[in-house]
C-alpha cells in the first residue's frame, strides 16, 4: 500500500471518528428543546442542564476530530483542502459559525442566572447542533455525487449547486440519524425523567430515520456513478451497516440502549466507510469531466511530507485514542440531574 492510500484511509478514519463521536453530541444538542418541554421554568432548566452535562466533558474533544481531519487533509492532500473549502465556501462558513456559537454556548449558558441569557444560549446549542448535522450530510453527498470542478481543480459552481435533491436527502438523513443517536446516548447516560423522555424520543425517531436513510440508499444508485464504477467494492460493509441499523430497532423497543448505541454507531461508521470506499481513489468527483476529479495522487503532498506525517500519526494516534477512551471511562456513570452533579 502506498502512502497516498494510507493517508486516504487515515482521513477516512478521522471523519468516521468525528461522525461516531460528535454525531451523538450533535443529537443531544438538537434534542435539548424537545426533551425539556412541558415543564415549569425551574424544572425545564434542570432537565436542560442534565442533558447538556452528559456531553459536557466530551463535546470539545469530539470536535477536534473534525479539526484534525481538516489539518490532515491540508497536510496530505493540499489540493483537496483548497478545492473543498474554497468551493464549499458558504456552506463551510455556516458550519463554522454554527460550531462557534455552539461551543461558547455550552460553556456560557449556566454561568448566569438570567433566564433570557440561558434561553439565548440554549437556542445557540440547538441551531449550532442542527446546522452542522444537516450540512455534513450535504457536503459528503456532494463529494461522491460530484460537483463542478474544472481542469485546474477549481470549483466553478455556486452555493446552490450544493443543494440538490440527493444532498438534501443526505443532509436530512444525517440530521435524523444524529438525533436518534443522541437520544440513545442520553437514555444511556441519564436516569429518571430525562432517560424516559430520551427513550421515548429514540422510539419515535427510529422510523423516520429509517425512511429517509432508505430513500438516500435508493437515490445513491441514481445520483452517483456507483453502478458504473466502484473504487473498492465495499462488499458486505453497507449491508452490515443496514443490518446493524435494523437490529437497533429491536433493542430500542426492548430498552437495551447499550446495544442500540453500539449498533447505530456501527451503522454510521459503515455508511461513511462505504462512501469512502466508493470514492476511492478519488477524493472529490468532478461532475464536468471524470478526468478532472481530484484523486489521492493528483491532490497529494510530496512523498517526503507523507512520510513525515505517517511517522507522526503512527506515534500519536494511539496515544490520543488511549487518553480519549480513558476520559469516557472516567465519566461512565449516569447523571441523575442532582444539582451537585451539574457543572455546566
Amino acid at each position: 500500500m502506498d502512502l497516498n492510500t494510507l493517508w486516504f484511509i487515515l482521513i477516512a478514519v478521522l471523519y468516521i471518528g468525528f461522525f461516531v463521536l460528535e454525531g451523538f453530541d450533535f443529537g443531544v444538542g438538537m434534542l435539548l428543546p424537545f426533551l425539556s418541554r412541558h415543564a415549569d421554568a425551574e424544572k425545564q432548566d434542570r432537565l436542560r442542564r442534565t442533558i447538556i452535562n452528559t456531553i459536557g466533558p466530551h463535546w470539545d474533544a469530539n470536535e477536534v476530530w473534525l479539526l484534525t481531519a481538516g489539518g490532515a487533509t491540508f497536510a496530505a492532500f493540499p489540493h483537496w483542502y483548497a478545492t473543498l473549502f474554497s468551493g464549499f465556501y458558504l456552506a463551510l462558513f455556516l458550519l463554522l459559525a454554527a460550531l462557534i456559537v455552539r461551543g461558547v454556548a455550552f460553556e456560557f449558558r449556566s454561568k448566569d442566572e438570567n433566564p433570557k441569557w440561558r434561553k439565548l444560549w440554549d437556542g445557540c446549542i440547538f441551531v449550532g447542533s442542527a446546522i452542522p448535522a444537516l450540512l455534513l450530510g450535504v457536503a459528503f453527498a456532494n463529494l461522491v455525487r460530484g460537483v463542478p470542478i474544472d481542469s485546474k481543480m477549481h470549483y466553478v459552481g455556486t452555493f446552490f449547486d450544493l443543494l440538490n435533491p440527493y444532498s438534501i436527502v443526505a443532509g436530512l438523513a444525517t440530521l435524523l440519524t444524529f438525533a436518534l443517536y443522541g437520544a440513545i446516548f442520553l437514555a444511556l447516560k441519564t436516569k429518571g425523567e430525562v432517560m424516559e423522555r430520551a427513550k421515548e424520543a429514540a422510539r419515535r425517531l427510529w422510523m423516520p430515520t429509517f425512511g429517509v436513510t432508505l430513500l438516500l440508499l435508493i437515490m445513491t444508485y441514481f445520483y452517483t456513478d456507483i453502478l458504473a464504477r466502484l473504487g473498492v467494492n465495499p462488499g458486505f460493509i453497507p449491508i452490515g451497516g443496514a443490518v446493524a441499523f435494523l437490529l437497533s430497532y429491536y433493542f430500542i423497543r426492548r430498552g437495551h440502549m447499550g446495544w442500540a448505541f453500539i449498533l447505530v454507531a456501527i451503522a454510521i461508521a459503515f455508511a461513511l466507510l462505504s462512501e469512502f470506499m466508493i470514492l476511492f481513489p478519488r477524493v472529490m468527483v468532478s461532475s464536468l469531466n471524470p478526468e478532472w476529479s481530484l484523486t489521492i495522487y493528483n491532490a497529494s503532498s510530496s512523498p517526503y511530507t507523507l512520510r513525515v506525517m505517517t511517522i507522526v500519526a503512527v506515534i500519536f494516534v494511539p496515544i490520543v485514542l488511549a487518553y480519549q477512551g480513558w476520559s469516557y471511562w472516567v465519566f461512565r456513570k449516569r447523571i441523575s440531574g442532582a444539582p451537585e452533579e451539574l457543572t455546566y
Binding site: W59, S86, L96, V104, D112, E340
Partner: protein
C-alpha cells in the same frame, strides 16, 4: 469587487480575536496547574480554592480561544486556496500536527478537569491541568512553526510548481521559531501574570479575601517579573533575527529610509509617507546598530536601498510594507513592555515588603494594567504580519497570488462582516462573564488573618449557578 482587501481584513480580524484569548490561556493554565500542585503537595485548601477560582476564569477564556481557533484551521482553504496549494506540502504539516498533538490533549483534559473534581484522585486531577497547559503551549509551538515558514522559509524547494518540504527538522528548528516561540509563550505568561495581579489588586484594594488574593498576587508577581524580563530579552533576539532575515520589516519598524552605519534608533519620527522621508525625528545615534549586533557600529539597511535591491532580485514592484503601521505598532508593543517591566518591578517590591495594604497611586494602576499585555500582544502581531507585506511567504509568494480565484469579493465581504459581528458579540459575552466572576471573588468566606484554612472548612460549597 476585489476580494483581496476583505480576505486580508478577515484574516487580520479573526487572528487578532483569536490571539486576544490565547495568551491568557498559555500562562493561566500553567499558573492554575501550579496552584493545584501546591494544594496536592501541601494539602492547603486555599490553593485548591485558588485553582478553582482562576480555573473558572481560564475556562471562560479558553472557550473563546477554542471557537475562534476553529476558523483558523479552515480559512486558508476558504480565502487563500492558491496559497494552500502552493505551500500545503509544508504548511499543512504543522497544522495537522498541532491538532493531533495539542488540540486533543488540551480539549480532552480540560473536559476531565472541569468535570472531574470528584471523580479523580487529587494528583490525577492536577495532572489533567498540566496536560491542558502542555497542550496549549505545544499548540503555540506548532502554529509558530507554520507562521515562521511564512516569515522565514526554510527546509523547502520549489518543485512541480509548488513549494515542497525537503527537511522537516529545518522547518521545526527554523531560526525564527527559536526566537518567536519563547517570545510568544513568555508574552502569554506575562498576560496571565498581570491578569492575576490586576484582579488580585482590585480585591486587595477593597480588603476582600485578603489572604486569597495576597497569595495569588505573589504568584503573579514572581511569574510576571521573570516573564516580562525574558519577553524583553527574547524580543531583542527576535529583532536581531529580523535584521538578518527580514531587513525590510526592521527598516519599516524603525522608519529608517536610508541605510546607516552606524545606525540610529528612532525615538519618535513623524514621516511624510508619500515622499517617504522624515518631517521630524528624534534619534539616538548608534543605538540601532547596538540593538541589531550588540556592538556600536554595523550597517542597518534602509527602506529605499532595500526596495532597489528587491526590484533587482524579484522584479518590478513595491516591496515596502505599510511603514506607519509597522513603525507605530512596534513602538506601542515596546512601550507597553517597558511599562509592564516597571510595574513588574513594583510588584516585586510589594511582595518583598509585604505591603499589600498600600494605597499608592501605582498600586491602584494594577487593575487597569491588565490591558497592557493585550495591547502589546496585538500590536506585536500586527507589526509581525504587516511588516511582511507584500509577501505571504517572505521572498517566495506574494499576497495577491495567494487568494482563492473562485471566491468572489462579495462572498468574502459577507463572511468578513459576519465573523466580525459574531466575534464582537461573543467577545462582549466573554468579557461580561470574566468581569462578573473576577469581581465576585472566590465563593468562600472572608478570611481572617490566621484562619484561611479553618474558615474554608466550615463554609459549605455553594451550588454552582
Amino acid at each position: 469587487m476585489d476580494p483581496i482587501p476583505f480576505a486580508r481584513a478577515q484574516f487580520a480580524i479573526t487572528t487578532v480575536y483569536h490571539f486576544f484569548f490565547v495568551p491568557l490561556t498559555l500562562g493561566l493554565s500553567v499558573m492554575v496547574a501550579l496552584m493545584e500542585t501546591i494544594y496536592v503537595r501541601t494539602g492547603r485548601l486555599i490553593y485548591k480554592e485558588m485553582a478553582k477560582f482562576w480555573g473558572k476564569l481560564l475556562v471562560i477564556n479558553f472557550a473563546m480561544g477554542v471557537v475562534t481557533g476553529i476558523v483558523q484551521e479552515f480559512q486558508f482553504g476558504m480565502n487563500w486556496s492558491e496559497y494552500s496549494r502552493f505551500v500545503g506540502d509544508i504548511f499543512g504539516a504543522p497544522l495537522a500536527i498541532e491538532a493531533l498533538l495539542a488540540f486533543f490533549l488540551e480539549s480532552t483534559f480540560l473536559g476531565i478537569w472541569i468535570f472531574g473534581w470528584d471523580r479523580l484522585s487529587k494528583g490525577l486531577h492536577a495532572l489533567a491541568m498540566w496536560m491542558v497547559a502542555i497542550g496549549s503551549n505545544v499548540s503555540a509551538l506548532w502554529i509558530l512553526v507554520a507562521n515562521s515558514f511564512m516569515q522565514q522559509p526554510v527546509g523547502y524547494t520549489i518543485r512541480n510548481g509548488r513549494a515542497e518540504m525537503t527537511d522537516f527538522f529545518a522547518l521545526v528548528l527554523n531560526p525564527n521559531v527559536q526566537v518567536q516561540f519563547p517570545h510568544t509563550v513568555l508574552a502569554g505568561f506575562t498576560t496571565a501574570a498581570f491578569f492575576v495581579m490586576g484582579v488580585s489588586a482590585y480585591h486587595l484594594l477593597r480588603k476582600q479575601h485578603v489572604e486569597f488574593f495576597r497569595r495569588s498576587f505573589q504568584m503573579g508577581a514572581i511569574i510576571g517579573a521573570f516573564a516580562i524580563v525574558l519577553v524583553g530579552l527574547s524580543g531583542h533576539s527576535q529583532a536581531q533575527e529580523m535584521v538578518r532575515s527580514q531587513p525590510m520589516k526592521m527598516a519599516a519598524a524603525e522608519a529608517l529610509w536610508y541605510t546607516e552605519n552606524p545606525a540610529s534608533f528612532s525615538i519618535l519620527t513623524i514621516g511624510d509617507l508619500a515622499q517617504r522621508r522624515d518631517v521630524f525625528s528624534i534619534r539616538i545615534p548608534r543605538l540601532l546598530s547596538l540593538l541589531a549586533y550588540n556592538q556600536l557600529s554595523g550597517e542597518v539597511k534602509g527602506i529605499h536601498d532595500l526596495q532597489a535591491e528587491y526590484v533587482q532580485k524579484y522584479g518590478e514592484g513595491n516591496y515596502i510594507p505599510p511603514v506607519a503601521v509597522t513603525y507605530w505598532t512596534f513602538r506601542i508593543m515596546v512601550g507597553s513592555g517597558i511599562l509592564l517591566g516597571l510595574l513588574g518591578l513594583y510588584a516585586v517590591f510589594v511582595v518583598m515588603g509585604d505591603v499589600y495594604d498600600t494605597r499608592r497611586f501605582v498600586w491602584r494602576l494594577f487593575p487597569y494594567a491588565i490591558a497592557l499585555p493585550y495591547i502589546a500582544n496585538t500590536s506585536g502581531w500586527l507589526m509581525t504580519e504587516l511588516g511582511r507585506v507584500p509577501w505571504v511567504v517572505y521572498g517566495v509568494m506574494k499576497i495577491d497570488e495567494a487568494i482563492s480565484p473562485t471566491v468572489s469579493g462579495g462572498m468574502v465581504l459577507f463572511t468578513f462582516l459576519a465573523f466580525t459581528l459574531l466575534y464582537a458579540a461573543l467577545m462582549g459575552a466573554t468579557i461580561y462573564l470574566l468581569r462578573k466572576y473576577a469581581l465576585a471573588g472566590p465563593p468562600i468566606a472572608q478570611d481572617g488573618e490566621q484562619g484561611a484554612e479553618s474558615s474554608l472548612a466550615v463554609v459549605p460549597q455553594p451550588a454552582q449557578d
